[in-house]
């Protein structure tokens, strides 16, 4: 029946609109990347031309690699993102399991308490968070960032994961109990593998905001040794603002890791979103 629903002009129009929007979405990235490979005069003379043998230049990248410690920034971002994600998934899944599996006094209240943070952004508490980190000596450490991002990610993680865990069959868990598995084993061996799609959803939802955040690195960890890639490129570009080659190359280098992550995980994003809905 669906063929009858569509006809050629409509399909073509849909493609035209989507294609136009795709161009709008990708054009800025494209312009930045192609110009980062050009010599200064060609950036200005022919900004839309692809780099050719004549205009090709890596001078911008040389400046960036000489002047900025981009490998360190990258490493910092990587540590912060990976550790925060691991903690969000582990702690979030444990709490979600407790809330969805056991009936105990205060269950609903605890669920509501943890859900508060879904809607209230953690940034509102920044003044006191900075004070807390100063008093515990965690300012300018990656630990401070990891703690903040873990706290920020937990509410939604618990919410999504507990709704998934309610779908795990009770028979399976009870069979495990009869076989003498402890509650911890049931969680790690039986339940956790079954909610892997939900874990992936939670991970992709959290990964990008953590990687891209500028606010907390700026306030909690602005030292040279703890700069994340986002903050590092912001500061670098601010300093080299008139050196167009360096700015364009720094932008391209900052785009690269997220694009790699995206290519690796874009399936998970879609699958996560739709599996949440379709189940």
């Amino acid at each position: 029946m669906s063929t009858a629903r569509r006809n050629l002009p409509v399909t073509l129009a849909a493609h035209a609109v989507l294609l136009t929007y795709t161009v709008i979405a990708l054009f800025p990235v494209f312009v930045i990347v192609i110009n980062s490979f050009k010599a200064r005069r060609d950036i200005f003379r022919e900004p839309l031309a692809l780099p050719d043998a004549d205009s090709f230049s890596l001078i911008g990248y040389q400046t960036v690699l000489k002047q900025g410690d981009f490998f360190l920034y990258f490493q910092n971002s990587m540590i912060v993102t990976v550790v925060s994600l691991a903690l969000i998934l582990l702690f979030g899944a444990m709490a979600a399991f407790a809330l969805s599996e056991y009936r105990f006094r205060g269950n609903t209240l605890m669920g509501l308490y943890l859900a508060l943070g879904i809607m209230i952004p953690i940034r509102i508490g920044t003044v006191a968070i900075l004070e807390l980190m100063v008093s515990t000596g965690l300012v300018n450490t990656l630990t401070a960032l990891i703690l903040v991002y873990t706290a920020q990610g937990l509410p939604l993680a618990v919410f999504i994961l507990s709704s998934f865990m309610q779908g795990v069959s009770d028979d399976l868990k009870n069979a495990g109990r009869i076989d003498g598995l402890s509650e911890y084993m049931i969680f790690f061996r039986l339940v956790l593998p079954l909610v892997r799609p939900a874990l992936a959803t939670v991970a992709v939802f959290n990964m990008i905001p953590i990687w891209n955040d500028l606010w907390f690195p700026l306030i909690l960890a602005p030292s040279e040794a703890t700069k994340t890639l986002t903050l590092g490129s912001q500061v670098f570009i601010g300093q080299f603002v008139t050196d167009w080659n360096a700015v364009l190359s720094a932008l391209s280098l900052a785009i690269l890791p997220v694009m790699v992550l995206y290519v690796l995980f874009s399936r998970q994003i879609i699958r996560g979103l739709t599996s949440g809905a379709v189940k």
Binding site: G125, V127, A128, Q234
Partner: protein
């Protein structure tokens, strides 16, 4: 009558499962949140702090220097939100509707490509657009020239009248992928039978979208609206990356996030003032709380959720 189920033994594992999440969440999120609200009622005196009652709020709302900045930031923030609601969400819904049409080729490709800006950091987005719109580089004027519209070109980011709208549109460009994805997922859950039933009654194409699909995805539109609201009222990064903490030109792009940053952390000649910062954060908290409550208690109740 004896209890049919045996009394459960102490269930320590529940506490063990809950403890790490509750501890981190309480210590790093909830406690600082309330502590920030508390700090808004104090002020610095010498080395210590003293209780100051509502003084900070009085300064914020009544002192001409502060209140002018506050209302400016708040007004800008509402405009920023308005542009998102008026541009980002309709575009997102339209794209999702097109993508979900059956048997559309390359749908996955379009979807992934349109989502690309959403994954880029504000720093990249802010600078990339700053360069593209820059009159020095001339990409924007050159492209307008190509379609004979060069006279339209203005240094949009540098003019007080257009800078905020331009940045809001840049933010729309960046985030249109989120409503698109969420609506797309919602559209996929609509069972084929319902659409086929509509088809039997002669409802197809546009009519099917307006009369069947749109009502069914209203709850998702509600969620997107509240996400946009919360996101916009604690936005900061894009403005900071593109215009700096002074949110130029002449504070034309200042929103609550940048105002909070300048006040709390200090910038250039201005010294940081944590207590005034806490007062601004409290105002932001109340605004967001009001928006979320409006959504939860008024809007969400009116939207019927359909179960299939």
């Amino acid at each position: 009558m004896p209890d049919p189920t045996p009394r459960p033994k102490a269930r320590w594992h529940i506490a063990v499962f809950l403890a790490p999440a509750v501890a981190v969440y309480t210590a790093v999120m909830i406690f600082p949140l309330f502590n920030t609200l508390r700090l808004a009622f104090y002020s610095r005196e010498g080395q210590g702090r003293v209780f100051a009652g509502l003084d900070n709020f009085r300064t914020l709302f009544l002192d001409p220097i502060w209140s002018e900045q506050f209302w400016n930031a708040l007004g800008n923030n509402f405009w920023f939100f308005f542009i998102h609601m008026a541009v980002q969400n309709p575009i997102g819904i339209a794209l999702a509707a097109l993508l979900s049409s059956p048997r559309l080729r390359f749908a996955a490709l379009y979807r992934s490509a349109i989502f690309v800006p959403t994954i880029l950091s504000f720093v990249i987005v802010g600078f990339a657009w700053k360069l593209i719109l820059s009159p020095i580089w001339g990409i924007a004027p050159e492209m307008l020239d190509a379609v004979g519209l060069k006279f339209l070109f203005q240094p949009w980011l540098g003019q007080e009248g257009s800078a905020l709208t331009t940045l809001a549109l840049v933010s729309v460009w960046q985030f249109v992928g989120i409503p698109m994805m969420l609506i797309y997922a919602a559209l996929l859950t609509i069972p084929e039978e319902i659409l086929e039933a509509g088809e039997c009654d002669g409802i197809t194409g546009w009519a099917a979208f307006w009369k069947i699909k749109l009502p069914l995805i209203l709850p998702s539109i509600g969620i997107i609206s509240i996400l946009t609201f919360v996101g916009n009222f604690n936005a900061f990064d894009l403005i900071y990356a593109a215009q700096g903490a002074l949110a130029g030109p002449d504070f034309a792009t200042d929103i609550l996030g940048t105002f909070l940053y300048r006040t709390f952390f200090g910038f250039q000649l201005q010294l940081g003032n944590p207590h005034m910062g806490a007062a601004i954060a409290s105002a932001m908290f109340l605004i967001i709380l009001a928006g979320v409550s409006l959504y939860l208690f008024v809007i969400q109740r009116r939207l019927r959720h359909y179960q299939f």
